[in-house]
Subunit: 84 residues, 2 copies
C-alpha cells in the first residue's frame, strides 16, 4: 500500500466512526440537550445523499464509509429526538 | 451541470456546513456537556488528515470542503474544551 492510500484510510476511519463515541455517550447519559438538532439533521441528510452519490458513481469506498456513518448518525439522531 | 455533480455538491454542502449550527448553539448556550470529546477529537484529527490527503492528491474540492469543515469543528472543540 502506498502512503496516500494509508493516509486516506486513516482519515476515512476517523470520520466514519467519529459518531460512535457520541452514540455511546448519549445512550449512557440519556442527555442530548447540548447537541444541535439542525446539525444532526444536516449530517443525516448529507450522509444519505453521499450514499446516493456513491451508488450513482459506483464508488464502493464512498458508499461503504457513508453506510457505516449513517448507522451511528441515525442512532444519535433518534436519541436526540427521544431525549430532546 | 449533470445530476451526479449536483447531488455531490448538495451532499458536500450539508456535511461541510453541518457543524455550523452546533458551533452557534454552543456559543449561545455555553453548554457542551452532552457533546462527546472523543467524537470531536476524532472528527478534528480526521478532517486534518483528509486535508493532508487532499493536498497529496491535489484534490481541490476535497481540500476546500475539509478546510471549511475544520473551521467549524475547531470552533466547537475549543468551546467543548472551555465549557467541559
Amino acid at each position: 500500500m502506498n502512503v496516500e492510500l494509508i493516509i486516506g484510510l486513516v482519515a476515512a476511519s476517523l470520520t466514519t466512526f467519529g459518531f460512535l463515541p457520541q452514540s455511546i455517550k448519549a445512550i449512557r447519559t440519556k442527555h442530548t440537550g447540548d447537541l444541535s438538532l439542525i446539525t444532526l439533521i444536516m449530517l443525516e441528510v448529507g450522509i444519505i445523499i453521499w450514499i446516493i452519490y456513491g451508488y450513482l458513481k459506483s464508488d464502493i469506498p464512498l458508499l461503504a464509509a457513508n453506510c457505516i456513518s449513517l448507522v451511528f448518525m441515525t442512532f444519535t439522531l433518534i436519541l436526540k429526538l427521544r431525549h430532546g
